[in-house]
């Protein structure tokens, strides 16, 4: 006979079992209303856009999702599993380089009854995973099953110019899945984040290594980012090159081809040093390491530590091994060459001339995926100057984006889309230089020189200064600058 007490106990166990085996309850639907700035008219924004994503509850009554789900958000609404009520959320941390973000919900009752999901380890290739989220095509939660196809370093599309470890799966990852958990044995083994156009049955998720790095980074209350050492490591597979350096053909060791000027390793390593080990992992002659049964780029080992920490290297130099401890640091020098988020573009308007930093976002406004003759100088400056001519590189190249028509500037032949070289003889390295160069001129016309073959223009000083407030009023611009 089954007593009433025993029956209740069995029911409780069942309920508990459901909770433990029902991670969908902790998967959150996210609705974002965002507004992107216009980088060529930086005081303006595009129309408000609605987009959907997913997230899940983690320890500390927080939601983790992709940074791209909440980029440029004006309002974020989150909904619980099978709960029609929207709750207001805000961004606590955004790691745009790793496409992860943490949300907090204004109403703490949102988390009542929700269990945080736990993180597992990097899943094995060929093992089964389940993606979970709120993809387009319906309102209810969706599950898809697949296997881990491969584990490699991939370009993270959200920043555009960062390469981190990622896991490929054949489980469907569609718009709206972003930020949702990828589960294995009810533990989170990844955050779904991107697909690759043209690749069928291939979605990518962010592995636990990257997620844990992000969560550790924010423990100090701010997000710093993934560091690097500034080492360009290339395969060392040519027998003659190996012999020349005194190395056997044992498939170990990749060559330092170049070091980023000013980078952490610049003064510690040399060209033609051969890196034999990174953080204790033997480096293959193709530059990869065997990381949890996967051969992946050795660069990931510089990303396993936090900004300012060090990584031990075993290096072959002058025909003998040495130990080198290389500090790693977050590199911001290529920030403008990647996609920017959440910080509105800087600008300065003077006499109707709109100055703004040269960036990948700005170049996109030119409407071409490849440079033409007129934008070639801009592309070179943004993507090549720093590595080819570090001495001539500017910290923040400035473009004359456009000229807002006014009698004071009506005679200017150049109407925008040009790189500014000097103003009144002052080299323009950043937007502040523009303000300073224009402000210090007390007599004669302003002389604005452009890079490339664009020559120079003169601007009548008093008339242009007087024109600025009129231009702001005419074009409905609240401020002449955002510096």
């Amino acid at each position: 006979m089954l007593s009433k007490t025993l029956a209740v106990a069995v029911l409780c166990l069942t309920v508990l079992g459901l909770q433990a085996g029902s991670p969908e309850r902790s998967v959150i639907q996210i609705l974002t209303f965002s507004q992107q700035p216009q980088f060529d008219s930086p005081w303006r924004s595009d129309n408000v856009r609605r987009s959907g994503g997913s997230g899940f509850v983690i320890k500390g009554r927080k939601i983790i999702t992709n940074a791209h789900v909440i980029a440029w958000a004006k309002q974020i609404l989150v909904r619980r599993y099978q709960d029609p009520r929207p709750f207001q959320a805000r961004v606590a941390y955004a790691g745009n380089d790793c496409d992860l973000a943490i949300l907090e919900v204004e109403d703490p009752s949102f988390f009542d009854g929700l269990e945080p999901l736990e993180f597992g380890d990097l899943p094995a290739v060929r093992s089964a995973v389940v993606t979970c989220g709120y993809p387009a095509g319906g309102e209810q939660i969706s599950f898809t099953r697949g296997v881990v196809s491969r584990i490699e370093v991939q370009n993270y599309a959200h920043p555009g110019n960062r390469f981190l470890l990622a896991v490929q799966t054949d489980a469907a990852i569609n718009p709206g899945n972003s930020g949702g958990p990828v589960l294995q044995d009810d533990k989170v083994v990844g955050v779904a984040f991107q697909g690759v156009p043209g690749l069928e049955n291939a979605g990518f998720f962010i592995p636990p290594e990257v997620i844990r790095h992000f969560l550790k980074d924010i423990e100090d209350g701010k997000y710093t980012g993934f560091p690097e050492a500034g080492i360009n490591l290339v395969p060392l597979q040519n027998p003659a090159y190996r012999r020349f350096l005194g190395l056997p053909e044992d498939g170990v060791g990749a060559r330092v081809d170049s070091l980023r000027p000013g980078g952490p390793a610049e003064k510690l390593l040399k060209k033609d040093d051969v890196v034999l080990e990174i953080a204790g992992y033997p480096v293959g002659s193709d530059g990869t390491v065997l990381y949890r049964d996967n051969r992946v780029s050795g660069s990931i080992l510089f990303q396993t530590v936090q900004n300012g920490e060090t990584v031990k290297l075993k290096v072959w130099r002058d025909r003998k091994p040495i130990e080198v401890e290389v500090p790693v640091a977050v590199y911001q020098g290529d920030r403008l060459a990647g996609n920017q988020y959440d910080v509105p573009p800087r600008y300065l308007i003077y006499g109707g001339l709109v100055f703004t930093p040269l960036s990948a976002d700005y170049l996109r406004t030119l409407g071409r995926d490849r440079p033409d003759a007129s934008s070639s100088a801009l592309f070179y400056e943004l993507y090549y100057r720093r590595s080819e001519d570090p001495g001539g590189a500017r910290s923040e190249p400035v473009v004359l984006s456009t000229v807002l028509a006014h009698p004071a500037n009506a005679n200017l032949r150049v109407r925008g889309k040009v790189l500014v070289n000097r103003i009144n003889g002052v080299r323009i390295d950043c937007l502040e230089d523009v303000a300073q160069a224009l402000g210090q001129k007390k007599e004669g016309a302003h002389v604005i020189e452009f890079a490339g073959q664009d020559g120079f223009e003169c601007l009548e000083r008093e008339a242009s200064a007087q024109a600025t407030p009129q231009v702001l009023e005419t074009y409905g611009i609240s401020s002449d600058r955002r510096l």
Binding site: N232, V234, P235, L236, Q237, N238, P239, A240, Y241, R243, F244, D257, S258, K271, D272, R370, P371, D372, S376, A377, F379, Y380, Y384, S387, E388, D389, N411, L412, R413, G444, A445, V447, G452, Q453, G455, F456, E457, C458, L459, E460
Partner: protein, 494 residues
């Protein structure tokens, strides 16, 4: 004659391929068939050929004039008269791609029988409609084309600007040196067509070039090698010290030519060129052709080496200067636009393929090359040659071989040094490879994010090169034209 009969005759005349008035051109306009080397710049040892047909104009003296396009690399030229029948072997006796003109002759006396020389117009009036003549399906076709304007453009094969007659027509398939006629004379030869605009090299320009050649005094096309911008901003003109009404064009860049002391300086205000006042748009008023870009004054009655008088405002003072027209040479550019004076060069060493970086190589990416060719290689076109680096060499490809294991993916990298020697030409590559250091060849590339250096075993290099030649069917390990053989872009052939 009754009115209906007259109308019928007119109608018939309009429908006929050629009216009686134009029939005389049958004896002056010939067909030119050119078979030319259409190099494969990704495999420069290959020399495929292609054939085209264009038009030529008999100008007397057993000479046919036509545009230069396709002729600099010809392997076979034939002529046909009357639009049908026998093809006569011919040869190019002179060409200049910068002028986009060539002269052809045939040694077969039969070809010249019945031909009548055409007359090249000395001047062309504006705003007249023209007749375009071409052989089509064995018949001489004459079509009216509408005058658009005179303008100044780069040549089809050259960066040197010259007077160009623009015609408006919806006729397709033009640009094959079809003669354009006006009042019984030849007004020019078509060079290209884009949209409804057909570009014509005008007869006065052709006369100028051919007359200089006939006198044995054709030094080549000259051009203005400085960069200027319009002086349309009164504040800029005032800043430069100009008093009174706006005028002039502003010099913004002057090339630094080795051994040449430039007479112009950046921020000179060009007030007069060759006696013509320059307006703020950079135009002058041509007595025959109206407002034209000042660039035309480099070829209006002038050739390379001529002195052109200029008046500039420099540091607020009017100054007279004498500008000597430099000769248009493809090697004036860091990335030459053409290389008609020699076949594409290459050096294959241990499977590494070295080539000169030039625009024909970039055009190997096809019609859409400006979009498809690697941006970094294209951007070198904006650079200027220097005494230290007058030209560029790139590692264009690697033909896989055991000696180059590890480098198979390396390509499109501009070479900085080999074995410590600075590399500007393929001859430099050959010389540098004679001097390995410590038993290896070290190839270093231009500074950047891409591969910076590679190293090959010197002892096995020659053997590997021979292996690559056999395996990939190359005719030779290298093709380099001696410098003495590529001194001219204009040539006398035969």
């Amino acid at each position: 004659m009754t009115r209906p009969l007259l109308l019928l005759l007119l109608l018939i005349a309009g429908l006929a391929p050629v009216s009686s008035a134009e029939a005389v051109w049958e004896k002056s306009v010939v067909t030119v068939e050119v078979t030319f080397k259409d190099y494969d710049f990704f495999q420069p040892w290959n020399t495929p050929t292609r054939s085209v047909r264009k038009h030529g104009l008999y100008i007397g003296g057993q000479e046919i004039v036509t545009t230069a396009q396709y002729l600099p690399t010809e392997t076979l030229v034939r002529l046909q008269k009357g639009g049908r029948g026998k093809w006569y072997p011919a040869k190019v006796v002179w060409f200049d791609p910068h002028a986009d003109l060539a002269v052809i002759t045939s040694e077969d006396p039969e070809f010249w029988v019945g031909l009548r020389p055409a007359r090249l117009a000395k001047a062309i009036p504006q705003a007249q409609d023209f007749n375009l003549i071409r052989w089509k399906d064995g018949n001489l076709e004459s079509r009216r084309v509408e005058f658009s304007k005179f303008t100044v453009k780069d040549g089809s094969l050259s960066f040197a600007p010259r007077l160009t007659l623009e015609l408006n027509t919806d006729l397709g398939g033009l640009g094959w040196a079809e003669p354009v006629m006006l009042n019984g004379t030849v007004a020019g030869l078509t060079t290209s067509k884009g949209g409804n605009t057909c570009n014509v090299v005008p007869a006065p320009f052709i006369r100028q070039i051919l007359e200089a050649r006939a006198k044995g005094r054709y030094p080549g096309m000259g051009y203005f090698d400085f960069v200027w911008e319009p002086g349309e901003n009164p504040t800029t003109l005032e800043h430069l010290g100009l008093k009174g009404p706006g005028r002039g064009a502003i010099v913004i860049r002057v090339p630094n030519r080795p051994g040449v002391d430039p007479v112009l300086k950046p921020r000179d205000l060009l007030l007069e060129v060759d006696g013509f006042p320059i307006d703020v748009a950079g135009d002058y008023l041509d007595p025959q052709y109206g407002h034209l870009l000042l660039e035309n004054l480099s070829s209006r009655g002038h050739l390379a080496g001529d002195m052109v008088r200029m008046k500039v405002l420099r540091d607020g003072m009017e100054t007279n200067i004498s500008y000597v027209l430099p000769k248009a040479e493809y090697h004036d550019d860091l990335v030459p636009r053409e290389l008609f004076d020699h076949p594409p060069e290459y050096v294959v060493a241990g499977g590494l393929v070295f080539q000169a970086l030039d625009q024909p190589f970039l055009r190997g990416w096809g019609e859409d090359w400006r979009r498809r060719a690697p941006f970094r290689l294209q951007h070198y076109q904006n650079g200027s040659p220097t005494a230290e680096r007058p030209s560029l060499v790139l590692l264009s490809n690697v033909l896989p071989d055991p000696v180059n294991v590890g480098y198979q993916e390396a390509r499109f990298l501009v070479v900085d040094r080999i074995n410590g020697r600075r590399i500007s030409t393929l001859a430099d590559v050959v010389e540098a490879l004679k001097d390995p250091k410590d038993g290896v060849h070290r190839v270093e590339f231009m500074k950047g994010d891409t591969l910076q250096s590679l190293l090959l075993d010197a002892a096995s290099m020659d053997q590997a090169t021979q292996r690559v030649i056999r395996r990939y069917g190359l005719p030779a390990a290298q093709r380099i034209t001696e410098p003495a053989a590529k001194t001219k872009t204009q040539g006398t052939m035969g």
